[in-house]
Each structure stands twice: as C-alpha cells, then as structure tokens.
Symmetry: C2
Subunit: 585 residues, 2 copies
C-alpha cells in the first residue's frame, strides 16, 4: 500500500501518529514561510503543512506542486490552530516530513469543484476529470448503495438474480433494436435486448418463480428528453402471483430503499389511482402528487354563453392555483406564452382571479355573469386570493395533457415541487390497447403478453379499446420509476390477443414462436415489474437528468464524446463481417 490512511479519516484522536497519505492536490496556499496544501481523495480532504524553517527542500518541492498532481506524503498528525468545522478532518493537519510526486498533471480544463467552471460539453469530453468532482462522484456512490440494497431486499425474499443474454434475436418489428453482425454466422445479426421481457417469462416457464436482474437494456431511438441508448433496469418476475402480490412486494422494495438510503419511513400503503382518474384529474399517467391542484371539468358550467372558444370545445377544464390571484398581467402573459409553446400547443388560456370580496374577475367577463363565475368558483372550492387557469380544446385528451403541463408549471412556480419531498403512487387499470394513428390499428399499450382484467375479457370481442389491463406503474413525484403487468399464460387468450393486434398466425409464430412454444409445456400464472435504476438514482440524488448518475453517459446524438464512439470501421473489419456501408446522399 502506498498509504496508511485515506484523506477522509484522520481525527484529533489520531494526533501525533505518523501517517502516509496519497491523493490529488486540490489547492495550495503559500503564506510566507508556510505552505498549505489540500490533499483530496475519494474519502475527503486533509490539510498538509510545509514549513520553510522545518525543511527547506521539501518546502520548495511543495511550492512547485500544481493542481491535480498526485502525491504521497508522510508526516505527523498535528492539531490545527485554526480549525475548519466544515470538514470532518478539519481539526487536524499533517506536518509533512516526506513528499513524493507520484504523477504530475497538466492544468485541468475546468476546476475540480462542486461548482465547476466547465460547460457540459467540456465536462463530457473530460468525463474522467468530471468524475473527480464530489458532486458527481457521490451520485455513483449512491447508485452503488442502491443496487446493494435492491439485491439485499430481493435476495432476502428468495429472488434469484439470473443473467440473461445480451446477444439475442432481433424481431421483424424491432425497429428500435440495436443489431450486431455475427462473424461466425455470415449475414446474420444478433440484437441487443430492449428488455429481458421474453427471457424472464421463459424463466417462469422454467420454474424460477422469483427472478430478478439488474440488467442493461438497449434502445436505438432518438434521444429526446431524458433517455440513453443504454439504460439499466431492475427487472423482476414472479410466478403464482396476482397483481396485488407484485404491488406489495415492489412497494416494499420502494419503502426499503427510502428507509435505507434516504432515511424516510413510509408507514401507509402508497395511494392508488386508476389510469382513467389520473388522466381525468391530472392529464397524465404519471401525475406529480406532491401538490393537489386537481383538474376541474367546466363543460357544464361554461358552455353555451356565446364564448365561441368554449362553446366549440370538446373539453374545458381548469386548475386552481392557491394564492396566485396576485399574479401580474406580465406573469399571466408568461403563462399564456408557456401553454402556447409548440411543445404544448394550446391556443390560449383563460384566467380568473378570486378577489378579496369573493367576486370573480376573469379574462372573459364579457361572456359570463358573476353568477356563472361563482358557480365555477364553487366547482374549484376556490377562495379569495386564488387564481383559476382554464384551457379548452377540441380533443379532450390533448387538452388534458396541455393542462397537465400548466399544472406542473404552476406547481414549480408556487414552490410545491420540493425535491426533498417524495409522493409515491400506483397508477393501475391501464387500458390494454391504445389506438395508433400512424398504424391505424390497436397496439398493445405495454406489450402483447399483458393480461386483460378477467372481468373485462368479454369486452375483447365487442369493444377491445375499453378493456383494462392488469398493468400498473409506480410514479414518484411525476416520474414513472417502473411498471409491469400480469402476463397472459393461457395460449387461447394469447392467440386472441395476437388476432386483435393484427398479427397473422405466421407472423406471431415468427416473432414469438419460441415463447409460444414454451407456453405449451406448462406455463405458470406469472407477472412482473421493471424499475428504471437510472431514474431511481436520479430521483434520490435530486438530479434533473439521469445522465449524472451514469459514469460514462452518451450525449443526445448517442455519442460518447470522451471515447469518440461510435466511429467508422476499417474496411477489413467490414469485409470480415460481409458488410458494406452505403451512406444515403
């Protein structure tokens, strides 16, 4: 070992010990005949003292140290005269007797501080330096701790972690599969899994009734929003269970993580809300319930008074922002601009203030009597000082989603989305299918193996779009951290599903033949769930992006700018793979 202690562990009780430390030079300050160096490693910072009077040679060597030099020092632990209460080692310093430069450093392109002067691009290019920063490193430490706790929890319940292959088969519909040419099987390709879904179902057929895996998954798609081409799932599956069992076990895992990692104890069951209610009251299947601000539908109250926008609308709904009646015209205009942004797409916004005396003052006063406006006020249970914001549109679902964005914006503006407050819920009873405008057919909302609710099975023939699934998502603070479903284990029902989804028998066989064959040999009732590890970690770390809880993330173009990957191959390598690249012009 190059060291006897780390830079984070020495205390006053170690006084007079002779120790050897290693680390990086965080900063150094020459003050007359003394030089102070902050030595940093993963564990903390320890102050080193060099004195000209004590040893001129070492003093001079110390003065030549640059930022981020790697050094080894031997010296005595002394009590500091001016203590630093901000760091655990702040009571001591090392009077250095020996100094050994293990490696020099060029001047780093940005400062290695919590608040660095480096921009995103620079930090990504030099990610290995960015990772030296406390603020980034602690996210990866948190990630490690969380996976340790996840495994501990699942292992204690008899779950077995099984590694499923990364080189699997591509499916003809797998437009988003990454593929991998095989040298040994010329002209053929593996695919990287978007999830171990079918493999974990095969493990259920095998009798592994409690499976999990912290698994890398891959998706070759545009990386809008907060996505990465490779991401990590806590993937789980169980046999001989019903939806309630899965919800209990994985609610238990969430509570375990909150308790062990954040010190937060949830004693009550998480609230559950049906997908239909989530859409109705929050315009989202992942509502942020740190604040209420439920939607109120106003069709009955506001239609038919000559305000054409409302009269023509298929949906009119609003939210009540407590205490926001004081919003200025400018603030209201900002909100209007906000909902009119192309990403949101509303045509406009109507507002109404509740005055001190209880009267309502709205932006559409010329169409509505105070009596009607009072009815509206009652519908919101609004009080003096509140602000009502209303959107409308000719597509109820679209308008709800716009109103959802407005609700979140108001939540943020009113400080109702505290990162240290966590509200967890289950969204249940998802629709089994959703209509695809693009494909002009029903698509599986989750995947084709999702089981319908038993009581809705008769509807499969008459009105498939109304069938609800035994599917569930866990949502925390407006982030979908995971979800799953009970799967179909009955082959007749599975056949019916494929038919509704427009698969021919041949196509179903081609894509999912191995699974359907497996199901002929005694498939148990089963279901499961996958949590997004990256999302859990960034939620716990209070990050806005999953990127900073990933050691070496890719940018929005799917590039690793540090490694400069992907890149062109040499022709010889392509030849071996029987491939030719033809770039479109």
């Amino acid at each position: 070992m190059y060291r006897t202690h780390t830079c984070g562990e020495l205390r006053l009780s170690d006084k007079d010990k002779i120790v050897t430390l290693c680390g990086w030079v965080q900063r150094s300050r020459k003050m007359g005949k003394m030089t102070f160096v902050d030595l940093r490693d993963r564990y903390g910072i320890t102050q080193l003292v060099f004195s000209e009077d004590h040893d001129t040679a070492i003093f001079e060597k110390a003065n030549s140290l640059g930022r981020e030099y790697v050094i080894q020092v031997k010296g005595k632990v002394d009590e500091r005269s001016s203590k630093n209460k901000n760091i655990p080692t702040g009571d001591i310093e090392i009077t250095v007797e020996e100094l050994n430069v293990l490696n020099k450093s060029e001047i780093p392109p940005f400062t290695i501080e919590d608040n660095t002067d480096g921009g995103d691009d620079l930090r990504m290019r030099y990610r290995y330096l960015d990772l030296r920063r406390n603020a980034v490193r602690k996210n990866l430490e948190l990630r490690h701790k969380m996976t340790i706790e996840v495994r501990q929890y699942l292992d204690s319940l008899g779950f077995i972690e099984v590694e499923t292959p990364v080189l699997i088969g591509s499916t003809p519909e797998g437009a988003r599969d990454f593929v991998v040419p095989s040298r040994m099987n010329p002209g053929q390709f593996y695919a990287l899994p978007q999830s171990p879904q079918t493999l974990k179902q095969l493990l259920m057929v095998s009798g592994f009734d409690r499976y999990f895996q912290i698994a890398k998954c891959f998706r070759d798609e545009d990386l809008r929003a907060d996505r990465q081409p490779e991401f990590t799932q806590i993937d789980c599956e169980m046999s001989f269970v019903e939806q309630e069992d899965i919800i209990n076990i994985f609610e238990g895992m969430a509570k375990h993580l909150f308790k062990k990692i954040k010190g937060i104890e949830f004693t009550e069951p998480f609230q559950r809300i049906t997908w239909a209610d989530a859409m109705k009251y929050y315009g989202s299947d992942k509502p942020d319930l740190r604040f209420d601000m439920k939607f109120v539908e106003l069709m009955d109250i506001l239609k038919g008074f000559g305000f054409k926008v409302f009269d023509d609308a298929a949906y009119i709904g609003g939210i009540c922002a407590k205490g926001a009646a004081s919003y200025t015209r400018k603030q209201l205009d900002q909100l209007t601009d906000f909902v009119k942004r192309p990403q949101i797409g509303a045509k406009g916004m109507v507002y109404a203030r509740i005055e001190e005396d209880g009267t309502v003052k709205s932006s559409v006063d010329k169409f509505y009597t105070q009596e009607t406006l009072q009815k509206m006020k009652e519908a919101f249970a609004a009080e003096p000082g509140d602000l009502i914001l209303i959107l409308s549109g000719d597509d109820a679902m679209k308008t709800r989603k716009q109103l959802c964005e407005l609700r979140l914006e108001m939540g943020s503006r009113l400080g109702l989305r505290d990162k240290d407050k966590f509200v967890c819920l289950w969204v249940i009873d998802f629709p089994l299918f959703e209509w695809s405008d693009e494909e002009q057919r029903l698509m599986a909302m989750h995947h084709p193996f999702t089981s319908p609710k038993p009581e809705d099975i008769p509807l499969l023939d008459e009105n498939p779009a109304a069938v609800r699934a035994n599917a569930y998502d866990m949502v925390i603070n407006g982030v979908e951290v995971g979800g799953g479903s009970i799967r179909i284990h009955d082959s007749a029902l599975q056949d019916k599903m494929f038919k509704i989804l427009g698969f021919t028998e041949e196509r179903a066989q081609e894509q999912f033949g191995f699974l359907m064959n497996a199901f002929k040999f005694g498939a148990p009732p089963h279901g499961g769930l996958a949590y997004g590890l990256d999302r859990w970690v960034s939620l716990f770390a209070g990050l806005d992006s999953i990127r900073d809880c990933i050691a070496f993330p890719k940018n929005n173009s799917g590039r690793d700018v540090m490694l400069d990957a992907p890149s062109a191959l040499e022709q010889s390598q392509l030849d071996e793979l029987n491939l030719e690249v033809h770039l479109k012009k």
Copy 2:
C-alpha cells in the same frame, strides 16, 4: 398468491394444516383406489394423495393429469405411512380436497430428471425445460449466491460497483470486437467491450480507488474449448497499491467464497509459483497442483547414448506416475496414442517401469545401461512400482506442453484430480512480452498497459523478451480463474512500451488516445484483476463446462438454438442502418 406454501417446506410439524400448493406434476402413480402425485417446484417435491373413496370427481381429475401440468391443490397435511427419507418433505403428504389445473402441458421432449434422456442439442433447444431440472437449476442458484457473496465481500472493503458502458468504441486492432451499427450516426459503429479494461483505468484517474463490476464481456472469436461469445467477469481495479496488496485482497475473496459457499477454510496463504517454474515443472501457466508429478529434465542423463530421438532433442523430460508400473502394454499404447493425437502432437513416448527389485525396465533398453537408467530413476526419486513416462522434441516449450497433457491424463487415470479437492495458487512474474510468429514481433502478453517489474526496466532496451511483468494469475485445479497486473501510470514508460510493441505515435494515439490523454491529468499508481465468474461457478459446481452455469448459453457456432439467433435482418432494417450484406461465395 396462488399458494400458502412451497413444495419444499412442509414438515411433520405442519400436520393437519390446510395448505395450498402450486407446481408441476413430476410424476403420478395410480395404485388401485389411490393416486399419488409428486408435485414439484423450485423448492422441492411434495407428495399429493387422491383417494377414490374420498372424492371420486377429484380422483378422476387427478388421473387425467399429465406430466408437467401446472396445478394448484388445496388439502390437509397428513403423516405418511411409508416415509421417504431421501427428501425433506418425505414425512408428509397432502390429502387433496381441491384440484385446479392452471395449465396443461404437452409431453416434454425429454424427462425432467437429474439424469435426463435428452441429448445436448434437444436440451439446448428446449432450454426452458432443461432449466426445470434440479441439476441445472442449482447451478444458477449457486451463481446467484456467489455474486451476492462477491458483492458483500467487496462492498465491505469499500469497493464501489460502477457500470461502464456496453456501447463503446472499436479499436482498429479489435479483430475480435463485436460491432454495433448506429442508426443516429450513419456509417459508424460502436463496439461491445472485450473487457472494461480502459474504462476502469479511467475510473482510477477519476479517483475511484476501489472499483469493481460484475460485467458482461464480449468476444467474437471461434468458440473452441470452453468459451462463450458473452461471458461475465468480476472486474476490479485499485489505486495506490502494489502487486502484494491486490494479491492479498483477491486471495481474501477466494477464501471468502470457499468458506461461504463450499464450507472450506483455507488458513494458509496460497502458494505462489513463478511463470518460469510453472512452465519448467508443469509445462503450463495454469498447473493443476492437486497432484505433484513434477517434470524432471533428462537432457544431462539421457543424451549421447546413440538413441537418435533423444540425441537430436532440444528437450527431454518426464514424469513419474506412482504405482503405475503395472500398466499393461495395452494401457501404454493408449498413452502413446494419446500423446500422438494431433491436438497434442508428440512423435512418441518412452516409458520405464521400476521393477520390484529396483531395476528399471524401459522401452529403450537397447540404448541405455542399467547404470544410466538408475541415474534416471534417482532423478525422479522413483520407487519400485512406479512408471516413468518420457517425451522429447526439438522445441522445448512445445514438448513441455505435450508433457503437461500427459501429466494431466495420468493424473486423471490415477484418480488424482478429485473435483471436491481444491488447490489454489498464484502464478506470478509472467513475461511482459511474448513473441508472435504470425506477426513476427513482440506482443504484450496481457495488454500494453501492464507494468514491467521495476528491477527489469533496464532490460527493456537490451532484451525486452526477458522482462518480467507485475502480472499474476490465480489458478485453481488447473483452471485460470482470473488474473491481472499492475498498470503503467508513467507516460514516458507507456510511450516506451508502445514503441517496443511497434506502435507508431499516431497509431497509439488513435487507439488509446483517450487513455493517454487522461493519464496527463494525474494518474495514480494502480492495478487490478478480473476473475471469470463463469469459471468460478463451474469450478464450485463441479461442472466440466461453463455452459451449464449460464441460463441461456450459445453453442459452438455462437448460436442460441432456442431463440434461433443470430438471424437475417429484413432489408428495411438494413436500409435504416445504411448497410448491405455481401456474402462471400
């Protein structure tokens, strides 16, 4: 939950309880008015009893159950009249009151028994059924337990598990890289990592001084022997350490695993042997030391007596097989055939028996006096009843490797390679380079970042082939379970290495630029090790192949015959990737 208990947990103390079990029908026996069904799940087997007198309807239903049907039963725990001492649930049976068929099964293509009637190919095609077999499932359970223990051990020592990316850059020399075309970066490819080597070194630069990862690695090469295109490494790296520190920590991990998993306590340090001695005495860098049978060189003793084969040889060496003098002519011929197999390639074998009276009787008696043969006997310290086997050749290294095969064969024949005995050792002081006949140049024996031994650095100029590395392998029972090295952290030394390896500066920059750049910003002294998880598990499970400790392995052609992967892509998918397949004729 569909069940109250598993099929492995009920005991006599549960007598009279009403329980619900689920599982697969292992077998059923109708004996007059009684039918007995063995119900199996992952946890064990429980006997079910159906009686015609008790309930005719259920009795008949029970008689219609086929093998591998999935059923749910409710009934009472009763004491068995004839107990089965071979299984933990053998004292009880369930008198069934309710029987519910959850799913039927076709007749499986092979029996779900420890000794199945299914051949390898069939079992691979129906791997999901193969995994139902106790013998296979317990390997995966062992694998799970081992990874839990590995993480527990490393976490307790402050190691952090960091996920490194699977989509990285390909290197021009990466002939064995799997590559992945990127849709978003037309004409460019990612590569899958053969190991996280450079990434973990970057993490050291980042100050993560104790890193590990249980990581999937990928190699697109011919799958002779016991290899898989994807395999799993326990990948580790440490900073501020020397070789001795790494050996201590990972010897500690080995001991931890042996103790926790196999109940074997190693109190002594593992033996260490230099690479040179391993080659000299065992003809292998991974000697099986469960038995001794060291090589004895016989050049001084047997050369120059007119036996041309020996007189012309660059190497003559032998082994002494204790107590094998009784080997018949036929057995000796078999051994001669064994060493002459093309995979081994010896030209012939000389043998000598030590007779009861101490005289030596050899297959080359006409060339040697008894006096010379006695000298040889002494060199082996051979005793009456022993058999000496001798090989020679014009290439010492090749002949040693042949003798190694013969030694292992004799070890097996003499029952000296007990799967329940474990002998662990470190092979140290590997050469830094090895000569490549193909490339006609020195190649890095491990990788170009391996550090030479400090005392051998002067040799880099004069005689690089003689330079020893700070590299080490752990070998158990003749299997290399892992290895690693101290890395170079000094850029001048790294430059010198690249020069000796024949890299131009440009090429070094092209291939390893990101690492060399990183090293400019304060790289700490570091080193590490990677253990092969698959090998550890198969060693602990007593398997001959790593295949049976992998849930869904690939065959020798790199195919997953269950998934039928890899396979051809649809043209539309290729178009999106700007690729054309051109099969060679």
